[in-house]
Symmetry: C2
Subunit: 245 residues, 2 copies
């Protein structure tokens, strides 16, 4: 089933996971570790995105989905191809060259970068063969290759996009409270929002459906739960051409 890979082409996946409890947007990273042959020295010890070369008979989108599935087991998440990175010097620092040597990659590799949106809780990191871990986007560890740049550009695109499309709901559980939506916006955009105004605005949207359910197990007044209806959103949605420059 597996066919030849295209040596100088890869996909890299920025897997964003939002944690409703800690109100933190995280990125899923894997450990990169390399010792010298006599094991006296640690040559590479940092983190990178998951990615892999594209197979000869595979679409770019499928390559990205394949990588996500290997990493998380998930296949149906929100996905966006947001940028290609292919400068000739993108993989030329000492550690990366060592690593590439080790892994027998080409030096000049163009990578098509995707980001995925999901809930941190949807990924089971136990038994993960890559030793993948979540890191807050606002507190990333040392990253290999140009992956810090890739993550930051993905994050920038996400911030822009969540202002004009309802992708925030890709990051939240199916049933959520109004305050959870507000927290997500605040955390991702790095802003403060007035709760009373936000609440009014959101509740008035026809695609925010109130449920006959409340939170339970909380130690204060339990909040009402809502869901987002993609159906309603898409049907009622005649693109409002508000020129906002």
């Amino acid at each position: 089933m597996e066919s030849k890979i295209i040596q100088n082409l890869s996909v890299d996946c920025v897997v964003f996971g939002y944690d409703t409890n800690t109100k933190s947007l995280n990125a899923l990273l894997i450990k990169r570790y390399l010792e010298s042959e006599d094991k006296s020295e640690i040559l590479v010890d940092d983190h990178v995105l998951t990615g892999y070369h594209v197979y000869q008979d595979e679409t770019l989108d499928n390559a990205a989905t394949r990588v996500l599935k290997e990493l998380t087991g998930l296949t149906q998440q929100y996905k966006k191809q947001f940028k290609a990175f292919g400068d000739p010097d993108r993989l030329t620092n000492a550690k990366d060259l060592l690593w590439i040597e080790n892994e027998k990659f080409d030096k000049r590799t163009v990578t098509i970068a995707y980001y995925f949106l999901l809930k941190t809780e949807d990924v089971d990191l136990k038994n993960n063969k890559y030793d993948a871990k979540w890191f807050p986007v606002k507190d990333l560890p040392e990253l290999g290759f140009d992956h810090k740049q890739i993550i930051n550009e993905a994050y920038g695109d996400l911030k822009t996009k969540c202002l004009v499309e309802p992708i925030i709901f890709e990051l939240l559980p199916d049933k959520f409270t109004i305050n959870e939506v507000q927290d997500a916006y605040q955390s991702i955009l790095g802003i403060e929002i007035d709760n009373r105004n936000f609440r009014r605005k959101l509740i008035n949207k026809k695609y925010i459906i109130p449920l006959d359910e409340k939170q339970f197990g909380v130690s204060k007044k339990p909040a009402k739960l809502y869901m987002f209806s993609k159906d309603v959103y898409e049907k009622m949605f005649q693109k409002n051409y508000l020129i906002n420059i």
Copy 2:
């Protein structure tokens, strides 16, 4: 100076040129023409975007700029890398295979697609070695490869982007009238805008600077000219986080 090309990697450039007079958004296309050996038959006769393989020591951005320069002589235009196209079957229809054979390209070629924004009038098409011509985006000729898809995705991105960023001014002359701006929005977005409201809204922007000049050579009341100040726009601009979903 020219180094080896990367066989399976190219850039393709969607050159958008707006014509203030005809109020038309155009794309710059080049002719593709191929006869059978005995010249009895026309094998390929359509249009394509300009693009070219990326050189080994060249950034993707520079490759795109190089292609634009070869085609138009211009180098400082608004540029955006908007998507990579690399499905294995993207170049597999009969004509394209013929053409590829002829040009000795690889079959599976990933292309990094860019679009440029400029004024139709800024390009001198005389003496153009590619026989490039403008075509209205809303009335494209038959296109080779997957270039119709590429143009349409570029156009979609442009439409979205011109709602939230002042890129419309990349398409207009330095000195413009309010109505010219309105016409550009109407043509590109395919909408009607109330002139009186639009005018008021635009004139109130601090980065739309009224000039002490009027149109001349028009056969009606000449309109006041304005300019867009990128400086003012960027300085006064604290990103307004209006959540507009």
